[in-house]
C-alpha cells in the first residue's frame, strides 16, 4: 500500500475543481464542495491501490462522467429559463439568433452524412436547433454573463408583464416586433425603482441615458432594484417620454 502523495492529490483535486466548472453554478453551489471532497477520497483510494496510473484513470473517468452528467443539468437550466424571468440564462440568445442557420447547416450535414463524424455533427446541430426552436417559441430568453440581464421579446403576447432588475445588473432590450401605435415593444414598460431602505417601488425618472444597447445600471443608479411593468398591467411610458423626463431631470 502506498502513502498518498499530498502534491499528487492536490493536483488531481485542482484538475477536478476545474472540471466542475462544466456544471451550472447553482448545482456547483449546492453540491460542488461535496463532489470535490468525494473525488479527493477516491483519489486517495486509487493512489493507495493502483498508484499514479490509477489516479490518471480516475481523472479520465471523472471527465467522462462530467461529459455525461452535466448536459442534462444545463438542459434543465434552459427549460427553467424559458419559463421564468430570472437572470441566470446563458445560451438562449445565441441559440435564438442562430437557430435557423444551425438548422440549415444540420440539413446540409445530414445530406453529406457519409461518415460517422458527419452524422455526429448533424445530430449535434439538430439538437442545438431544437433547443433554439424551443427557446424561440417561448418568446422570452436570454442571457447571460454574470452581472447582466437581458430581456428579449419574440412577440407581443410573450413579453414578460413585469420583471425586476437588481442593482449592478445591466438591462438590454432586444426588439423583434414593432407595435405600429406605440412603437417598439421595449417602450411599453413603466420603470419603477425601489430606493435603498424602502419597501415600495416608485416611478423612476433618474435612469442614465439609454445607450444603443440599453441602459447600463452598474453602480450608477441609487436604487436597490428596478422594476419594469408592462403597459397591459399598468400605465406606461414610452421611451421618448422617458428620455424627455431624463432630459428634464438633467440626467
Amino acid at each position: 500500500m502506498r502513502r498518498a502523495s499530498p502534491a499528487a492529490l492536490r493536483l488531481s483535486v485542482w484538475a477536478y475543481a476545474h472540471l466542475l466548472r462544466a456544471y451550472p453554478a447553482s448545482f456547483r453551489a449546492e453540491f460542488g464542495g461535496e463532489m470535490a471532497l468525494l473525488f479527493s477520497d477516491c483519489c486517495r483510494d486509487e493512489w493507495r491501490s493502483a498508484g499514479p496510473a490509477g489516479v490518471c484513470r480516475l481523472l479520465a473517468r471523472a471527465a467522462l462522467d462530467t461529459l455525461v452528467s452535466a448536459p442534462p443539468l444545463w438542459a434543465e437550466r434552459l427549460e427553467e429559463t424559458m419559463k421564468g424571468h430570472s437572470a441566470d440564462r446563458q445560451w438562449g440568445f445565441w441559440l435564438a439568433d442562430h437557430g435557423l442557420a444551425i438548422g440549415g447547416l444540420a440539413l446540409l450535414a445530414v445530406g453529406a452524412a457519409t461518415s460517422w463524424w458527419a452524422m455526429s455533427l448533424s445530430w449535434a446541430a439538430l439538437a442545438i436547433a431544437f433547443f433554439a426552436w424551443v427557446a424561440e417559441t417561448e418568446g422570452l430568453l436570454a442571457l447571460p454573463r454574470p452581472g447582466r440581464v437581458a430581456i428579449r421579446t419574440g412577440g407581443g403576447f410573450d413579453i414578460p408583464l413585469a420583471f425586476t432588475v437588481r442593482r449592478g445588473e445591466r438591462v438590454l432590450f432586444f426588439v423583434r416586433e414593432e407595435d405600429p401605435e406605440r412603437g417598439g415593444w421595449s417602450d411599453v414598460y413603466t420603470v419603477r425603482d425601489r430606493p435603498k431602505g424602502t419597501d415600495g417601488f416608485e416611478p423612476c425618472y433618474n435612469l442614465p441615458p439609454a445607450t444603443r444597447s440599453g441602459w447600463s445600471l452598474r453602480g450608477r443608479v441609487p436604487v436597490d432594484d428596478l422594476r419594469f411593468e408592462h403597459h397591459e398591467r399598468v400605465s406606461y411610458v414610452t421611451r421618448g417620454s422617458l428620455e424627455r423626463s431624463l432630459s428634464a431631470a438633467g440626467v
Binding site: F31, E34, M35, L37, L38, L64, V68, P72
Partner: protein
C-alpha cells in the same frame, strides 16, 4: 410531506437512482459511502462518478424520495462537508414498487426461457 405523485409514476427508475435507493435502504449514508456501497455490491463492476451520483441525488431530493439528515463528522470531531441522506417513507414505497416490477420482469423472462415451470415463482 409526501410527494403528490404515486410510487408507480416514478417507474422505471434510472439505474443510478435505483442503486442509490438500495444503498440507502439500510440506513443513512453520505455520498462517498453510497458510492462505496454500490461498488461493493456490484463487485467493482459499477463505479458511479461524482457527477452521476450527485445529479441523481439532486433528482431524488427534488422528488422527496430521499431526505437530508444533517452532516457527518470526521474522526477528529470537526464538522465535515458531507451531508447525510436517508430514504424517505415515500422513497421506500417507490423502491418497493420498483423491486416488485423488476422481480415480475425477471419471473416472466425466466418463464419465457423455460427456466421456470408455468406459474412457478423465482
Amino acid at each position: 410531506m409526501d410527494s403528490p405523485r404515486t410510487p408507480g409514476s416514478f417507474l422505471p427508475l434510472p439505474d443510478a437512482e435505483l442503486e442509490i435507493l438500495i444503498a440507502l435502504a439500510d440506513g443513512e449514508a453520505h455520498g462517498y459511502a453510497i458510492m462505496r456501497a454500490v461498488a461493493e455490491r456490484t463487485e467493482g463492476r459499477r463505479r458511479m462518478g461524482p457527477g452521476t451520483l450527485y445529479t441523481a441525488l439532486k433528482r431524488l431530493l427534488a422528488a422527496r424520495l430521499i431526505e437530508e439528515v444533517g452532516a457527518s463528522r470526521d474522526a477528529g470531531g470537526a464538522e465535515a462537508r458531507r451531508r447525510l441522506y436517508r430514504l424517505s417513507h415515500f422513497g421506500s414505497r417507490v423502491l418497493e414498487a420498483e423491486l416488485d416490477r423488476l422481480s415480475t420482469l425477471v419471473r416472466h423472462g425466466r418463464r419465457r426461457l423455460h427456466l421456470l415451470p408455468s406459474g412457478g415463482r423465482s
